[in-house]
């Protein structure tokens, strides 16, 4: 059981590291929102599921699964709202020509 928890936490930390690299290296708001919004959600889900395996069948585990479902809904919603606000307020997407 301990090795299952370690596997889930390691996968989650891997996704979080990928998301952080994307947040620094990508050139535009839209690409960065892809990195932070999508990959971050998956990493958070893996870590929370691993911790709820550690808590066993209890009330704490139920609350951890509640946080998991809440983040699975809320994090893409925030990304979508910011994305729509950006594209309606006239922020131009990045292309290879606009770099020069």
């Amino acid at each position: 059981m301990i090795y299952l928890i370690m596997l889930f936490l390691t996968i989650g930390l891997f996704f979080l590291v990928v998301s952080a690299i994307g947040a620094i290296r990508l050139p535009d708001f839209y690409t960065r929102s892809h990195a932070i919004g999508v990959t971050d959600t998956v990493g958070t889900l893996f870590i929370l599921i691993g911790l709820s395996i550690d808590a066993g069948v209890s009330f704490t585990s139920a609350k951890l699964l509640l946080i998991t479902v809440f983040i699975y809904i809320a994090n893409p919603t925030i990304t979508h709202v910011l994305f729509r606000a950006a594209i309606r307020s006239g922020l131009k997407p990045w292309t290879k020509q606009s770099q020069k």
Binding site: I2, I5, M6, L9, L13, L16, V17, S19, A20, A23, I24, F29, R32, S33, I36, G37, D40, T41, T44, I47, L48, L51, D54, A55, F59, T60, K63, L64, L66, I67, F70, I71, A74, N75, T77, I78, T79, V81, L82, R84, A85, A86, R88, S89, G90, L91
Partner: protein, 91 residues
């Protein structure tokens, strides 16, 4: 207890990851970059709280704090997003 040390390692990893998003929140070219950086910091803070609770064997207390923090982040980000959608991008 080997799992507690593994939780401590995960806490150190998260503490290294949070300043990356802080960099994006400070030097981001426009206001949406700052907001998405703050969103990343909040997601890491929720994980940090839950991992601290699992490390100190008080998970039932820290879970409630993490849930409240997530709800505050959702309401604040939605309000700022709708406001910026009306206002437009004039820094």
């Amino acid at each position: 207890m080997i799992i507690a040390e593994f939780y401590l390692g995960c806490l150190f990893g998260l503490a290294i990851l949070i300043p990356v998003y802080l960099y994006r929140a400070i030097v981001g070219p426009n206001v949406f970059d700052r907001l998405i950086g703050l969103n990343g910091i909040t997601a890491k803070a929720i994980l940090f709280l839950v991992l601290v609770g699992a490390f100190t064997n008080q998970l039932d207390m820290f879970v409630d704090i993490a849930l409240g923090y997530g709800l505050l982040n959702l309401v604040g980000s939605l309000a700022v997003g709708k406001y910026l959608e009306k206002k437009g991008l004039k820094e």
